[in-house]
Amino acid sequence: MRCYEMKWAIVSDIHSNIEAFEAVMRDISTWRVNRIIHLGDIVGYNANPRECIDLARQEGVHGVHGNHDLAALDLTLSEGFNILAYQAILYTRSQLDESSSRYLERLPFCLILEGEIAFFHGSPENVNTYILNAYQAKRAFNYIMKQLVSVRIAFFGHTHVRRLWHRDKVGKVKSIPIESDMVKLKEDGIYLINPGSVGQPRQRDNRSHYLIFDLSEQTIIFRSIPYDIHKAQEKILKAQLPEFLALRLADGI
């Protein structure tokens, strides 16, 4: 893999926020990437699910499904959703046409590219499971080592928070602090990497977050892009979605 001169853009949790998604796509266009991959939850929470799917298709974005994508297709899968997420799924279902539903139906649970790079939404086992702490990261690493033995780098979403976990060759798992926008990956061990969320960031930074993966340099470049939050909020209110979904965008929670 080291010989490739390739850059991939990896986006996650777009959540029907077309203003954020468009801003991120504009930034991606300056990086000359070979591929754009999304880590699921293209719909849910915000006001423009169909438009986000159209843009993903138009730009040839490949991806996996998230729990909101599945619930938009089958309401019974939203049983565990909280009030906010549930209201947004009802709205999402009212907005999807046949073609956008078909797009969601065809998204796989997991993608593995170049034999050693995996992409999934929640965890390698389940779309609903979070990787938020060391216990959960260890469980994910254990699964990868047993079931996805060739995988060295795995990208995940679902938490809406940028994060980088590393398991070294002796099995020690730790969260690597992201102190600069560029992180050089080590040769050894396995990585679990979360780019943060495009459409509903929850790291108390209201910009849209995604990352560039430079395969030849083995570096991750975390990107944070401002977008028209006010416009996204107005659309949420106009769509009569819960007001909190608009307020949180400004706070980045």
Binding site: F81, N82, I83, L84, A85, Y86, Q87, S123, E125, N126, N128, T129, Y130, L132, N133, Y135, Q136, R139, R202, R204, L241, P242, E243, F244, R248, D251, I253
Partner: protein, 195 residues
Amino acid sequence: MFGSKEIVTRTGKRLVIRPMVKEDEKALFDFFARLPDELLMFIRHNVRDPQIIKEWAESLNYERVLPIIALDEDRIVADVTLHRIPYGWKRHIGQVRIVVDPAYHGQGLATAILNELVELGAELGLEKLWAEVPLDSVAAVKAFRNAGFRCKAVVEGLVKDLKGNNIDILIMVCDIEHYYDARWLKKSEQKAQRG
């Protein structure tokens, strides 16, 4: 502001849960009026005073207190509140209080509504939830445990019951990140059952 959703109790009863709105004033007053004195002991205000309920309904501020109610048609049958502190060292902590109509005890309603509150706590950016439960309220302790709260401390004889006896209080805390550990554990259990 938050919407609503339906839950099904263990007895198959369909209830709606949603945040309280101003128009719920009378239903909330009726709910508290139905509760026995022993349950009202846990509430910090005289909720049998209609003026108190009126003030609550007219001054709702979800950023400070988020009240979630469960409704059986038009009747409120449970009330859980999430109290937040906007600044300072407790800004990441929400305090939880819950009251359930005794006619609906034993149906999993408290656990269901507490789970909803934990999920909403995560959406609101909170990291920990705090609850104070009488140590001898076995059902309440169980409901909080089922919703991911863990027993952290007992303060002996801290509060007084109706008869003036001192009773012990159990401090329970839910670490919201660890709340989601249960989803991994459930999967393991399912796998073990299958295997």
